[in-house]
């Protein structure tokens, strides 16, 4: 009991944190406290990004370069053998990182621009516009997105553009719901009301009062949506209706080399070949999930239990 009412002063009241640290310092402290899974995730994601950025420098051969032996074994010249028409698997794995991740990233960005923007507008507007948007999203979400994507791809054909647009639009429904839900929680806060009472313009309120407060859950959602989009595109490519040859892509690579698995008894390496791209997909999504889990834990505790 250091203070008695006689010496009471407002400035001396005990507050939560006294020391403020810079953004960088705080991130570093958070990183040092991060669990091993988060470190694993961060390292894997960085490695993937590195490979994707420098694919042409890292790959021993060209993306679509064809060698004489199809289904060649693992050896000095072809580390992971060759595929059904004689392309170097290792090279295609490296280019696959670039193509698969690039397309997934573009799709996720587009889906956030559409879903995030509309979600924010719906949360602020809360009138007929919100009603229309929310009901349309309900209907769109009543169709499983893979099925919807399959249907739309059968109509528009499997080009990279239609792939990106279709998946982004379908996925933006989930972004819309989350953004709207999170933003509504912020919109009802007294500080937003205070800004309205001050006479602030809607754009200022969105930018300065709402957006900074919904960023952490949206960033986490970006990670989750990215891995979901990534898995969807991989699944579509695996089904043969996604990214089309000769573009190297992990989903199609699994399908193209799937038959090799039958030879696992005779040559375990051959049996493993189709699993390499699949493992590359799995490893990235696991890594992203680990990072997102940790981020959610440190930033807000939101959706702690999922």
């Amino acid at each position: 009991m250091s203070q008695t009412p006689e010496t009471y002063s407002a400035a001396a009241e005990v507050a939560a944190v006294r020391k403020r640290r810079g953004r960088f310092e705080r991130s570093w402290i958070a990183l040092k406290k991060a669990p091993i899974s988060a470190w694993f995730g961060l390292i894997v994601v960085s490695a993937y990004v590195f490979v994707a950025l420098f694919a042409p420098l890292l790959a021993p051969y060209g993306e679509a370069e064809i060698f004489p032996t199809p289904f060649g074994p693992w050896d000095e010249t072809h580390r992971f053998g060759t595929d059904q028409i004689g392309r170097d698997i290792f090279t295609r794995l490296i280019y696959g990182a670039r193509n698969t991740m690039g397309i997934a990233l573009m799709t996720t960005l587009l889906s956030f621009i559409i879903g995030g923007g509309l979600g924010l507008v719906a949360a602020i507007n809360r009138s007929w516009l919100d009603q229309i948007l929310s009901r349309s999203v309900d209907v769109l979400m009543a169709i499983p997105s893979l099925i919807f994507a399959l249907m739309l791809l059968s109509i528009f054909g499997s080009t990279v553009t239609s792939l990106i647009v279709i998946i982004a639009v379908l996925d933006s429904t989930r972004v819309f719901r989350l953004t709207r839900a999170v933003a509504i929680n912020v919109v009802v806060m007294d500080y937003v009301e205070a800004a309205r009472l001050r006479g602030e313009k809607i754009g200022w309120i969105m930018r300065r009062e709402i957006l900074p407060n919904i960023m952490p859950p949206l960033i986490a959602e970006f990670g989750l949506r990215f891995s979901f989009v990534f898995l969807t595109i991989a699944a579509l490519s695996f089904l043969g209706v996604g990214i089309q040859p000769p573009t190297a892509d992990w989903g199609s690579m699994v399908r193209e080399n799937a038959s090799l698995i039958q030879f696992a008894q005779y040559d375990i390496k051959a049996g493993l070949t189709p699993l390499l791209p699949a493992a590359a997909i799995a490893l990235l999504t696991v890594a992203v999930n680990f990072v997102v889990d940790w981020f959610l834990h440190t930033s807000s505790g939101l959706r702690d239990e999922h």
């Binding site: 399959l150 109509i155 089904l239 799937a258 799995a282 239990e305």
Partner: protein
Amino acid sequence: MVARQGLRRKRNILHPVLATILKRLGLGVATLFVVSAIIFSSISLLPGDFGEAVLGQAATEETVAAFRRELGLDKPAPVRYLDWVASVLKGDFGTSFSGRAASGVDRSRSVAELIGPRLKNTLFLAGVTAVIAVPLALFLGLTAALYRNSFYDRSVNAMTLTTISMPEFFVAYILILLLASLWPVFPSLANVDASTELAERLRRIALPALTLTLVIVAHMMRMTRAAIINLLASPYIEMARLKGATRSEVILKHALPNAWAPIATVIAFNLAYLVVGVVVVEVVFVYPGIGQLMVDSVTARDTPVVQACALIFAGTYIVLNLIADIIGIVTNPRLLHPR
């Protein structure tokens, strides 16, 4: 008492449970209607030269025109939509595009005929999976929630997080590699037909069912765990403990009556997820189900078949969610015992 009068007054009109269910049913029907309209209108988006694409370059103008007439493309869209709905309700999904030739010879089969046996196969696979996966996932989720933060909980959690992150086909191929190729216990291809015996049929679908089970259990277990933990954090659960209720009494008497709605939602969500997961798994194991048919038809741009499949998948999805919501409504004490 005001509450009693209210009770009496409302009984004369409609019980709130019934009213809410009817409202929800109406919404379900409306959604189905809009979804069918979306699926239908997709055919109108077909590029103009579609007739040629299906019939081939050599098709004459007359055969193309006849084909378009058969699709009803000469009639206005709303009329075509109503025709289509009417025939779908009778079980007629139209005729497949495949098997047509430029000469006008038509060996195409009706969509219903194509889908029928495959739908049975898919339902069989999904049913077997659900029978294994649902109880298993509920058990794992419940125990993980009860022994929260224990070693058991942590290991189950880490395992499921990993499984969730893997594409279905990765899980499938690992199982093939292990259980079909290296140690040939089960066949790697699930090729069944109408004549396959039940025991043999089960043996052949072992791997696809196992793949789906692994994926579904992972999702479902995590959601069950979260739902139960959320429930156990309620003040009335703490109150029950402070009233001296044993562990099993807390779970069975105090938590369970309030758990039906969240559990039903979890089950419905995952069965709906199963519907989608089935597509990839059927392709991996070359299982003659509706998922594989849909993928093949997408590649062949056989729109009537794609539409029918999409409608079936979406319908299942909507109905499952509807059932979950109705269970939630029926077990809600606030609606059951109105003021």
